[in-house]
């Protein structure tokens, strides 16, 4: 359905994506990465907005750039907000449907159905400038889905939505992804880029993690979590005698390395963080050490990205 082989995209001397190879079949896929990681560039390559500097991009077996036959099977919802002020959602989605090759009544009906599906049925004739960001986001989504594409590509689609709207649209997109496309005689493909892990997880999507333009991991959410779990985690202990504490915990509870930050912080890398934390507590009681703070390793997405990068580069914790 969609394959990138050794794809690199340069903007002058700036690297957009770097030597990415990935193959995605039908179903839901999440592209996860922090802002500036190269997600939008990757989506630009897939949706035929950009040409790779090196490597090969194929969508439905063909090059997507300037290829009308491929583009008419792609729906794309970009991250940027719509600043078209005076048009109504009906005008806007109708316009996009007409640009996809539909005309007359068929175009109007498709636009109305798509707007209804995203829950904008009541606001179709209000100018976009009077709608909330979440409603404009729905209008963008309707524009991407109205021509019934086989591949739906969404860039930060749930940005700016309130929790209820987010829940609704996640459900809508998930249902779209598992529904069968009668025209293509097969399931559809959904590619969602986000910097929020829980958004992608909610879509039950396979994951590809991108950072610094490089694909650093791919698999299911569980596989990526296992990969992360298997990496050494850092425990940060602030106490009155970090060097003495290091001597007492080294070689126990899976401690793999230690380092010191200033006079009162010990950082221990371990694959068994819970066991190590218990060991620190026991030692502190037994040796009457003053422990002021014990912090587990960074479990945020940024932390996970950082660890995946270190794994990707073959560096330990």
């Amino acid at each position: 359905m969609l394959s990138l082989t050794n794809v690199t995209k340069l903007y002058g001397s700036v690297i957009g994506v770097n030597d990415v190879t990935v193959e995605l079949g039908a179903g839901a896929h999440g592209l996860l990465g922090p802002n500036g990681a190269g997600k939008t560039t990757l989506l630009g390559l897939v949706t035929g907005q950009l040409r790779p500097t090196m490597g090969r991009v194929r969508v439905f077996g063909a090059r997507p750039f300037a290829n009308a036959r491929v583009l008419r099977r792609i729906g794309f919802c970009p991250a940027a907000d719509l600043t078209e002020r005076r048009a109504t959602p009906r005008d806007w989605v109708g316009y996009l449907v007409r640009l996809s090759g539909f005309r007359g009544r068929e175009a109007t009906d498709r636009a109305d159905r798509a707007l209804d599906r995203v829950g904008l049925g009541e606001a179709v004739d209000r100018p976009l400038s009077t709608l909330s960001k979440g409603m404009r986001q729905r209008a963008k989504l309707a524009g991407a889905m109205a021509h019934d594409p086989d591949l739906l590509v969404l860039d930060e689609p749930f940005d700016g939505l309130d929790p209820v709207a987010r829940h609704d649209l996640v459900g809508l997109v998930r249902r779209w992804a598992v529904s069968t496309d009668a025209a293509a005689e097969g399931p559809r493909t959904l590619l969602v880029a986000s910097h929020l892990l829980h958004e992608v997880e909610a879509l039950h999507a396979g994951l590809a993690v991108i950072l610094g333009g490089r694909l650093v991991a791919s698999g299911t959410a569980a596989e990526i979590r296992d990969m992360v779990e298997a990496m050494p985690s850092e425990i940060r202990v602030r106490c009155d005698a970090p060097r003495r504490l290091a001597g007492l915990v080294c070689g126990t509870a899976g401690a793999e390395s230690v380092r010191f930050e200033g006079d009162d912080v010990l950082v221990v890398a371990t694959r068994q963080p819970r066991l190590l934390a218990e060991r620190v507590a026991d030692v502190a009681v037994e040796e009457r050490l003053q422990v002021w703070e014990v912090l587990a390793g960074d479990r945020s997405l940024e932390g996970i990205f950082g660890r995946l990068v270190r794994l990707h580069r073959g560096v330990g914790a």
Binding site: N35, G38, I74, L82, T83, K140
Partner: protein, 271 residues
């Protein structure tokens, strides 16, 4: 999975392409129907008539009819058309990039082409309508002999001016969208008003030479032109001038469409 030969779209590729171009043109005209743009258009309509009235009133011995026509030519097919196209055709791509709508259009089949051609149509229709109204209003006020004949001449000149100049401005619009206005003014000055007045082969590729030649031919001024002015017009018949503007327009718009088809606009937040 390869791209299937048959798909769900009823329309033939040509019909779909024409439909897309018309969709863009309609959308652009709806955008132009704001009070700011209508006010600007109103000024464009009134301005030549106001100038002609002012000149007629200040001229001590009355304004010669030929001179009045020449002035109206400078004001409408030249000034009004140029200014109108600068605000409608030049931002063809820049406006889309600024509004965040470029990406929506660029991912549609033939969307880039449709955007350029649709904007071209809208710019020609809008500017042409403003310029025609301006010419008709000025002619009505000027009280020249044979106003209907002159109205026909100016309708032809306005049509050719908008078609040719919009095509000329389509190039800067796609080559340097963010500097399109400056580049278009430069192109107008260098191509139309410098090269266009050079008595050399280079002026054959300008719209201004063709329009001047048509004005001279249709007003039957050729025999009365002083010898030094003969070099500034093309002696060939009007159909050659019309065909030249048509060919020039098609070539310029085609080149612009090809350039736009292969242009890439990097997502700014990634750089």
């Amino acid at each position: 999975m390869n791209v299937p030969q048959a798909d769900r779209f009823d329309a033939s590729p040509w019909a779909a392409a024409v439909g897309s171009v018309l969709a863009v043109a309609m959308f652009q005209i709806r955008r132009l129907l704001s009070w700011q743009r209508l006010l600007l258009a109103g000024l464009g309509v009134v301005f030549p008539a106001a100038v002609m009235m002012a000149v007629r009133r200040t001229a001590r011995t009355g304004l010669d009819d030929d001179l009045a026509v020449l002035m109206l030519y400078a004001l409408v097919p030249e000034a009004v058309c140029m200014l109108g196209l600068l605000v409608t055709m030049c931002p063809a791509v820049a406006d889309e990039l600024e509004r965040g709508t470029w990406v929506h259009v660029a991912v549609r089949p033939g969307g880039r082409r449709a955007l350029l051609l649709g904007t071209y149509l809208a710019a020609v229709a809008w500017t042409g309508a403003v310029a025609l109204l301006a010419a008709f209003l000025a002619l009505a006020i000027m009280q020249v002999p044979q106003p209907l004949h002159l109205a026909g001449i100016f309708a032809g000149l306005v049509a050719l001016s908008t078609l040719g100049r919009a095509a000329l401005f389509s190039l800067p619009a796609v080559i340097m969208p963010k500097r399109a206005l400056v580049a278009s003014v430069a192109a107008a000055l260098v191509v139309e008003y410098l090269a266009g007045f050079l008595p050399a082969v280079v002026n054959q590729a300008t719209v201004s030479l063709r329009l001047r030649s048509l004005l001279v031919a249709w007003m039957q001024w050729r025999q009365r032109l002083p010898p030094e002015m003969q070099m500034l017009v093309d002696p060939q018949p009007p159909w050659v001038q019309i065909a030249a503007v048509a060919v020039l327009s098609v070539v310029l718009v085609t080149v612009a469409a090809v350039i736009l088809e292969f242009r890439q606009f990097p997502p700014s937040d990634e750089i």
